[in-house]
Symmetry: C2
């Protein structure tokens, strides 16, 4: 069977929908500002529902504002095969992060309609509320409630910088639905997403078959030495907190490299006090972000960093306080779902690689409630969370074609 | 000759004057806030002049507001031997930084009066304007004009955060004197000061014989890499500006240590962008402060740092911009003045050491116009520029006793 025999989506239609959605909250620099539960988010949701209704879908909205657009299957009692992502963006976000996964799901439904294909299981397209967490922390809060990770009351009481709660804002924009969150069974969940990293684009591959989501451990470290004048304090009498911090930063990088290609270790934030040119820093705050898809290796990474921080502090006569502030267990995606993606890619003949998602996605939470996997496409320069975020139309089509194969396989063509 | 035979100052009187002056601008935490050319500075100057007049001195004030209190010598044509420092403080400063040097000069004059000692040269006590530079940058601006380093017009036009100029504020508090700045010849200049570092107090010595002032070279460095997401960006594809900065900080410290006990090298300030927990830093700004008393060694330090910054940037695939923003040449103090201090200390039998000043002082500028040296006393914990700055009364007396010997030697007892 040649690739041309494989059923494909309508790439022009998908791209046109992406561009139409990008008009809502469009920024001058070509990005999108569609923060969760703002009027722009409401307009995006309205347009999505309009398109879904035009495609013959029934709409359900749950108490977290998650929208499910359902294309019925032959068996009304079967659990749905669900595809989706989110429509909210970062404050200065791009046109594809999240949106791509939602509109890919819609394009699959449209293609099934075009071809009159019936499936055993219903097919649903989902839009999860507030994935970014930019307006209401934490991120992925609505898929988190769906998967039983967060309580509904906790989620609805999250507030933005102006003190408005997520629940109030859901009511205000008319998206506080009646359905119990997490009440609907999922036969399988697939999320198409831009990679948000450099691997596919640098290596010239079109599809990432996502097998795992990295586990994460986040730390905060405070190193305390002694503030003193840079002139009159000899080198051997200093307790320089910034020097200790520098050694920690270098060590965190080294430990990450030592734990193989799937380990990531980053110091992203540093604040030094008093931060004056001629004063030896007396106190430094920094953050450490450790990631690995294998929980055992992630633990080893953590222990290595904890031990080395203690050594560095002792060698520099510094006091230290190291606190783990966040832990997210690694998520191995469902093997049958991953196999479905692998098989779809093979049918289509795309250049692909298996990979791990380092970023968090709704799929990482939904994986705890249903068999789940993800499909990545490249983004230019690996750039995301940025108004310049961009993709090639052929990448968009390729990812949607993979999703089409996968959904038809899982939903069961009648 | 036993120590008790050596002429000594009145320690109680000196301490009482220090405590009286400390009331002007006293802070709740026991420090002083007497910023240059404020009403508090005016009151401090007024009190100083009142005391000097009571001690029989004539007062001259120059166009920079520098105050010279003169005890005549036998030879009215001889240049004066001058002792002093400054009365202005940091915003949350201590009771001794600067003040100690001014009131030590006064105590020497008072002691000469008590004992009816006549000198060949006049003895003068000087109070330099705006040494700290906290209100009007740069620091030491008035001694700088005196020594020909800064122009008068430049100095008078310096403005504070509210836009008030140094010249206007001198007029306002009544201290814009008539005398040409730098017009008076100095036979020798001595400045007593707290060390502002930990060496004397940690090593249990009472007097520092200051032989040199460190030269300084200050740099600003910007390292530029690529901002990217800490999750999806593998370690070997990163251009982490903070990792480069960490290696620079460690290298600057190492290079300082490699250049001997008198080298100081410090990164005091760091700002990282975007400074977010899960973003690899794309840009880091930091400052480098290099000091050494030998200009040749200081140059070697600079070259080593410049070369290593380039290597670190290259190894980390970073761009860099390194700019020298300040150079202050090392100041070797006058050998006869240093010898006079050494001889005074020996007479008194104090535990002393030769040392280098790492901080800037009016003496560092005056050394360019007249034979100069300094006398250090310890400060508790090496702490200065801090409301908790403190000294022991016996240290205050010891430093003043040394100054008494030195001034009598240089001024020539008749």
């Amino acid at each position: 069977m040649s690739t041309s025999d494989v059923m494909q989506i309508d790439g022009d239609r998908l791209w046109a929908s992406l561009m139409d959605m990008a008009k809502i909250g469009a920024t001058e620099k070509g990005g999108c500002r569609r923060l969760a539960l703002t009027d722009e988010d409401r307009r995006g949701r309205d347009l999505f529902i309009e398109w879904c209704r035009a495609a013959g879908c029934g709409i359900s909205i749950d108490q977290m504002g998650n929208i499910f657009a359902r294309r019925p299957g032959r068996n009304p009692d079967a659990a749905a095969v669900v595809a989706g992502s989110h429509l909210d963006t970062q404050p200065t976000g791009g046109r594809f992060d999240g949106v791509y996964g939602v509109l890919t799901g819609l394009e699959v439904v449209r293609t099934l309609n075009d071809r009159g294909i019936e499936t055993e299981h219903p097919v649903e397209v989902v839009c999860w509320t507030n994935e970014e967490g930019s307006r209401f922390a934490p991120p992925m809060v609505a898929s988190g409630v769906f998967a039983g990770i967060y309580d509904l009351d906790f989620a609805l009481s999250r507030s933005d910088a102006d003190g408005k709660t997520l629940g109030e804002e859901l009511q205000r924009i008319g998206y506080a639905g009646p359905e119990t969150v997490g009440g609907r069974p999922l036969h399988a969940y697939f999320e198409a997403h831009i990679e948000q990293g450099p691997i596919l684009v640098e290596d010239g591959q079109t599809i990432g078959i996502v097998t795992d989501a990295q586990g994460q451990r986040w730390y905060e470290l405070v190193l305390t030495g002694k503030e003193s004048h840079a002139g009159p304090t000899p080198m051997d009498r200093r307790r320089d907190a910034l020097l200790g911090a520098a050694r920690v930063i270098d060590m965190v990088n080294r430990v990450g490299r030592e734990h193989g290609p799937n380990a990531c270790s980053t110091v992203g934030m540093i604040d030094s006090y008093p931060n004056s040119r001629n004063v030896i820093p007396g106190r430094v705050f920094l953050t450490i972000d450790l990631r690995h898809p294998d929980n055992e290796v992630l633990s080893r990474l953590s222990r290595a960093v904890e031990e080395e921080v203690a050594h560095i502090a002792k060698a520099g006569s510094l006091e230290f306080a190291l606190e783990e502030i966040f832990y997210f267990a690694p998520v191995p995606f469902d093997q049958t779902c991953v196999a479905a993606v692998r098989s779809g890619v093979k049918k289509l003949g795309y250049d692909a690689r298996e990979m791990i998602t380092g970023a968090g996605h709704d799929a990482c939470f939904i994986a705890k409630a249903a068999p789940t996997s993800m499909v990545f496409i490249p983004c230019i320069g690996g750039l995301s969370h940025n108004e310049e975020e961009d993709i090639e139309p052929e990448w968009a089509s390729a990812g949607a074609n993979v999703m089409l194969q996968v959904i038809v396989e899982k939903a069961g063509r009648v």
